[in-house]
Every structure is written in structure tokens, then in C-alpha cells.
């Protein structure tokens, strides 16, 4: 993917750019808000990573202006501005995701991957398929190798998030936000417990496990370790 990084702290931008390049992406770095807006509206990027406190043009205004100019490129804010209302402000300004510094690079990478590969709204699938696992989003049925599997509503949602991100890493934090609507870090094993319950239904009765654990980061749904 082609990624635009607008970040004025050189150490941070070097680190992100290096990581993204190693992960096979192309990364352009800009340190100024106005330059960033100009590049963002060019339409040549798959994902924009923007800081909020930037010289010459503040991050929120940058994204608002880009959206007003018709840019639809997904934007993730990576910022020190971490107030309780700031995430909502970021999303309302047109951001698609919000990550607070300091962060683990794996978290940022997982979120960039999720944003960049998001299917366009007009291309909504009604049936998700991974190997022999099938999820019907309309009748809300799940089956594996033709065997119907009963899931609780929350387990269904968890599996849906994992299946939509097939082959990619879904971090623990992403799961908490998307499945449980938790915007804080629980001190107990909420995610682990529910993933384990899901595994006993989806993987245990079958030969090949689909839900993989990604150490220190999260989970991934794919065939084979």
C-alpha cells in the first residue's frame, strides 16, 4: 500500500516509515500540516497517518479540509492528544481510527492494514467464507464443513470481525473496540476468555485450527500457523 505519514517528530516518523517499509508498504513522510493537506488531497494514497499537533496546520483541520475537498482516503490519527473527548473529536473530523502515543508498532500496522483493505461500502458481502468456515450475515448462521455451529450474539460478532480481517492480525485493542465497545484496557482476560470459548466451538471439533494467536498482539484467522 502507499501510505502518507504526516508527522513532525523525526524519531517517530523514521520509526513508522522504517516499519512500514519493512512490512512491504511504500511510505511518504511530510512534517508540515499544509504540505500534508496538499499531498492528502492528491488521491494517490491508500491510507493517511496523521499527527494532530503539526506545524502550520493542525491535524484535525487538515483532515476536515481534506474531507471537505472530497478526499475519501482512510485516515488514522496517531497522536499525543489523548483526552477523553479527543478520540470522538478525531472521528467526527473525518478520521477513521485513532491511536494514542506511545503505541506498539504492531498495533499501528494492524490498524493501517484494516483500514487499507476495507471493502468499499457498495461491495457489501452477505456471506463470509474462510476455508470450510461459512458465515451468513443475513440469516446469522455459522457452519464449518457443513456442520451448523451455535454462537452467542457476542461470539458471532467476534468471529465476524476476525473473518472480515482474514489473514491479517486483529489486535486485542481492536477486538475490544469492535466487539465489546470497550474503549479502555480491561484488567481481566475478557478477550482471551471469549476467544477461547469461540475456539472450542469453531476449531476444537475440527482438524485444522483457524484462529491463530499472534504473540503480544492479538489474533488472526487463517489456515495454518
Amino acid at each position: 500500500m502507499r501510505i502518507l505519514l504526516i508527522e513532525d517528530d523525526k524519531k517517530t516518523s523514521d520509526y513508522i516509515a522504517k516499519g512500514l517499509t519493512e512490512a512491504g508498504h511504500i511510505c511518504d513522510v511530510l512534517a508540515d500540516g499544509r504540505d500534508g493537506l496538499f499531498a492528502a488531497t492528491s488521491g494517490s494514497y491508500d491510507v493517511i497517518v496523521a499527527d494532530r499537533m503539526l506545524p502550520s496546520l493542525e491535524g484535525l483541520s487538515l483532515v476536515k479540509s481534506a474531507r471537505a475537498a472530497g478526499t475519501r482516503t482512510p485516515v488514522i490519527f496517531v497522536t499525543s492528544v489523548s483526552g477523553i473527548e479527543d478520540r470522538v473529536d478525531g472521528l467526527e473530523a473525518g478520521g477513521d481510527d485513532y491511536l494514542v502515543k506511545p503505541f506498539a508498532f504492531s498495533e499501528l500496522l494492524a490498524r493501517i492494514n484494516a483500514l487499507g483493505r476495507r471493502p468499499p461500502p457498495q461491495d457489501r458481502q452477505t456471506v463470509l467464507k474462510v476455508a470450510d468456515l461459512e458465515m451468513d450475515l443475513i440469516s446469522r448462521r455459522v457452519s464449518r464443513a457443513g456442520v451448523e455451529i451455535e454462537l452467542q450474539p457476542r461470539e458471532f460478532r467476534l468471529l465476524e470481525v476476525l473473518m472480515r480481517g482474514t489473514g491479517r492480525v486483529i489486535t486485542r485493542t481492536m477486538l475490544l473496540e469492535q466487539v465489546w465497545d470497550f474503549h479502555f484496557d480491561p484488567k481481566t482476560s475478557v478477550v482471551e476468555t471469549h476467544v477461547s470459548r469461540l475456539r472450542t466451538k469453531i476449531d476444537k471439533p475440527f482438524e485444522v485450527p483457524l484462529i491463530q494467536t499472534v504473540r503480544n498482539t492479538g489474533y488472526s484467522l487463517r489456515v495454518g500457523g
Binding site: V81, S82, P102, H183
Partner: protein, 451 residues
């Protein structure tokens, strides 16, 4: 509620009662003085009248002219109606010469004296004022009934009594009215201070605008509150600045550690670097929590409040943490009748309940039962989170809400000491009161939504 229970103890009421008592005492005293003056004056007048009548009659006496005197006394006696005025003329030998037939032959000692009706041979209990003097060799006694003066004295007394009753009634009711008005204003002050202590720092005592002493005190209290709020705002700003400015270096530090981890080749160095990284993450989490608490206390997100069902949140929490409890060999049940609507922030209320349930899960041994419930108690929505674990000692319950406070018993378990502070801040943002109680055995957290 303050008026009903504390009326007899309230200063304005006491002032009113004291004032009424003084007023009544003053009326009694002045009544007594006036009565004494009036009665002395009336007695003097009777004496004067007696002497005047005596001198008029004695003027009718000429030398050896007893007839004129007898006829004068007789006509005076005849004119007197109903024993008001009595006359008795007695000769030198003591024989009755003229006068009121009822007291014929009555002789009083010379000068003034007081005689009761009985000793005059008359009925009733009227007292008489008597003047007796010599006219030639004869003796004339004139007795005036005290009826009229007694009546006047009675009138003075009763008019004072009425005036006193009216004055006392006015003093008591006026005092009560004034006391109630002052009490009302004192209550407004008490209520405002109560609101402030409950966290709504924007509350101010309303001023009447008449620049009286209560207004003066109220505006001073308001000024002190303004200063307090300004100080707290300043403190918060410093907190935010520190958090923001520390975040950038922490971020750089974390990046340095990540880069070092990539280059590290021995397991010992990797372990050390990973530990350092996890310490940074913990520090960041504590910063985040402190910042969030400060912002919630400052009233953040209140403008985004929406009508939501507490029971739904309770049920969600029960569903999410039920399985977590099972994994720890504990049980967690939730019970809530739907329809406990409040205005609030769903995300924050979820965090509030999650914090409480996680506390219950983390600080209890295996085998405990945790219960989360939501009830409607006479219009007040109440959430309970209770367990049957070891509980918290009574003297530590209030302290447990303090930031970074860790109970002695929980020092060995991981945690930031911010969960309950956060819960309290969120509860108070919603106008709810949170308290810790003994669940006998165990801990019960009660959150009462008042608004």
C-alpha cells in the same frame, strides 16, 4: 428537609422566639407600671371628691342651724342611686340625724379609711372609701363605692392583656415568618455547598441583591468558590500539559526500546528490554487513567449525554464477565428488570461497571459469587455490585476512592489503584452517589442515580 427537622435548632427561629419573649416581658412590666400609676391617680381623685362633697355639705352648716345640714345630707343621700355614695350624719351624742337609711348611725374614724360592704351591713363585696369629719359637734361620714375605679383599673388591666396577646401573636408569627425567610436563604447556601461538595463546582449561591449581611456572606463564599475552581482548573491544565509533554518523550523512549529489541541478541537483554517496555506501557496507562479522571471530574462528555437503559448495560456486563468469572472458578450473575432509563454516557457507564466487576474478580478468592443488579427504588435507579469475598474494612472504605490508594490487602495483586477513583468520577459525572458497604460477608458497591 432542613426546615422540618432543624426548625427548633435554627438560629433565626431561636432569635424570633427570644425576641417574642422579650417583647412579652416588656409588655407585662409596662402594664404593671401603668396599672400602678392609674390606680394611684384614681384613688387620689376619689379622695378629692370625698373631701369636696364634705366641704360642700359642711358649708350648709351655720351656727345652731342643724336643719339645713340635715336636709342637705338627706337630699345628697336621696340623690345617690344604688349605694354608690353613702352618707351618715350623727349627732354629738351618737344619734343618727340624717343620711342613707341603709347605714343609719354609721360612724367611721376621722379622716380616710377603707370599709368593706359587709361591715356597713350591706350585701355584696364592694369596698368603700370613707371620709369622716366633724361639722360642729356632729360627725359626717361619706362613703364612695370603689366600683367605678375598680372597673377602670380592670379596663386598664384587660386592655393591656389584649395588647399583650396581640403583640405576642404578632411577634411569634412575624418572627416565624422572618425566621422562615432567613432559614430559606441559609438553606440555599447549605444546598449550594452540598452541590459543590458533590462535585458540581459551577454551583453558586443565588444573591437576593439587597446587599444585606447574608448577601455579603454569600458573595464572599461565591468568590471563594470561584477562586477554588480557578485553582482546580489550573491544576488540571498542569496535569494535561504534563501528560501531553511526557507522552512525546515516552513515545521516543518506547521507539528506542523497540529498535534496541530488534538488535538485541541475548535472551537476558531481550528480557530486560521487554520488561522496560512493559513498564513504559504501565506508566502510560496510569497517566491515561489520571488524565481521564481529571477530565471526567471537569465535566467532560456531559454535553454528549443520551437517554439510555442502565439495565441493558448491567446485562451486557453480566454477559461479558460471566465467562471470565467461570474461568476463575467464580460465578457472576446479573439481574435487571429492563427500563431503568437515565441520561448518561454509555461508554463511561460501561467502564464504571467493568471497573467494579474487575475489582470484584481480582480481589476475591476462587469460589466467590458476584452479583450485578439494577433496581428502581421509588424512582431512583440503583446499581449494586456485590461479592461474598473478604470485603473491605470499614475504616478503609472511604479511602479506597482516593487516587492511587491501594488497600493493604491488595498490594500483592496487580492494579493501578485508580479503578475506584475512576468509578467515583464517572458516577459523580452522572449525578450518582457511589458508596461501599458491608455485604456481610463481602463488599457491596451501591450507585444511586438521583437525577
Amino acid at each position: 428537609m432542613l426546615v422540618a427537622s432543624g426548625l427548633t435548632r435554627s438560629t433565626p427561629f431561636r432569635l424570633a422566639v427570644t425576641f417574642a419573649t422579650f417583647l412579652i416581658a416588656a409588655f407585662l412590666l409596662s402594664g404593671l407600671v401603668v396599672y400602678q400609676i392609674v390606680s394611684a391617680e384614681l384613688n387620689d381623685r376619689v379622695d378629692e371628691d370625698l373631701q369636696k362633697t364634705f366641704s360642700l355639705l359642711s358649708a350648709a352648716y351655720g351656727k345652731d342651724d342643724l336643719e339645713d345640714l340635715i336636709s342637705s345630707v338627706s337630699s345628697y343621700a336621696d340623690l345617690s342611686v344604688g349605694n354608690e355614695q353613702l352618707f351618715s350624719l350623727v349627732g354629738s351624742d351618737g344619734q343618727p340625724l340624717a343620711g342613707t337609711s341603709a347605714i343609719r348611725g354609721f360612724v367611721a374614724p376621722l379622716g380616710f379609711s377603707n370599709v368593706a360592704a359587709g361591715s356597713l351591713g350591706l350585701g355584696g363585696d364592694v369596698a368603700y372609701r370613707v371620709y369622716s369629719g366633724k361639722i360642729g359637734p356632729n360627725k359626717l361620714s361619706i362613703a364612695y363605692s370603689n366600683d367605678d375605679t375598680d372597673e377602670l383599673k380592670q379596663l386598664v388591666l384587660s386592655s393591656f392583656a389584649w395588647a399583650m396577646i396581640i403583640a405576642a401573636a404578632l411577634a411569634v408569627s412575624g418572627g416565624a415568618l422572618l425566621a422562615a425567610r432567613v432559614q430559606h436563604r441559609l438553606n440555599t447556601i447549605a444546598q449550594t455547598m452540598d452541590e459543590v461538595s458533590r462535585g458540581s463546582l459551577g454551583s453558586r449561591i443565588p444573591l437576593v441583591g439587597n446587599r444585606d449581611d447574608i448577601d455579603a456572606v454569600a458573595s464572599q463564599v461565591n468568590a471563594a468558590l470561584d477562586r477554588l475552581v480557578a485553582l482546580m482548573e489550573g491544576l488540571r491544565q498542569v496535569g494535561f500539559d504534563i501528560a501531553h509533554d511526557l507522552r512525546t518523550p515516552l513515545n521516543r523512549l518506547r521507539i528506542t526500546l523497540e529498535s534496541a529489541l530488534e538488535k538485541a541478541d541475548t535472551p537476558e537483554i531481550i528480557a530486560d528490554l521487554e520488561e522496560a517496555r512493559s513498564d513504559i506501557d504501565k506508566t502510560t496507562q496510569t497517566f491515561d487513567a489520571l488524565l481521564r479522571i481529571a477530565q471526567i471530574e471537569a465535566g467532560a462528555r456531559k454535553s454528549r449525554f443520551q437517554l439510555l437503559d442502565l439495565s441493558e448495560i448491567v446485562a451486557d456486563i453480566g454477559e461479558i464477565y460471566g465467562e471470565v468469572a467461570v474461568d476463575q472458578n467464580k460465578t457472576l450473575v446479573s439481574r435487571a428488570e429492563p427500563g431503568n432509563m437515565v441520561h448518561g454516557d454509555r461508554e463511561l457507564l460501561v467502564q464504571l461497571l467493568a471497573n467494579l466487576v474487575e475489582n470484584a474478580l481480582r480481589h476475591t478468592p476462587a469460589g466467590v459469587a458476584i452479583k450485578v443488579s439494577c433496581q428502581n427504588l421509588e424512582g431512583r435507579k440503583v446499581i449494586y455490585v456485590e461479592d461474598n469475598g473478604a470485603g473491605i474494612p470499614a475504616d478503609e472504605r472511604e479511602k479506597a476512592f482516593r487516587r492511587l490508594y491501594r488497600l493493604d490487602a491488595s498490594r500483592s495483586t496487580p492494579g493501578s489503584g485508580l479503578g475506584l477513583s475512576m468509578a467515583k468520577a464517572i458516577a459523580e459525572l452522572h449525578g450518582a452517589h457511589i458508596s461501599l458497604e458491608d455485604a456481610e460477608p463481602g463488599l457491596r458497591v451501591t450507585i444511586v442515580f438521583t437525577s
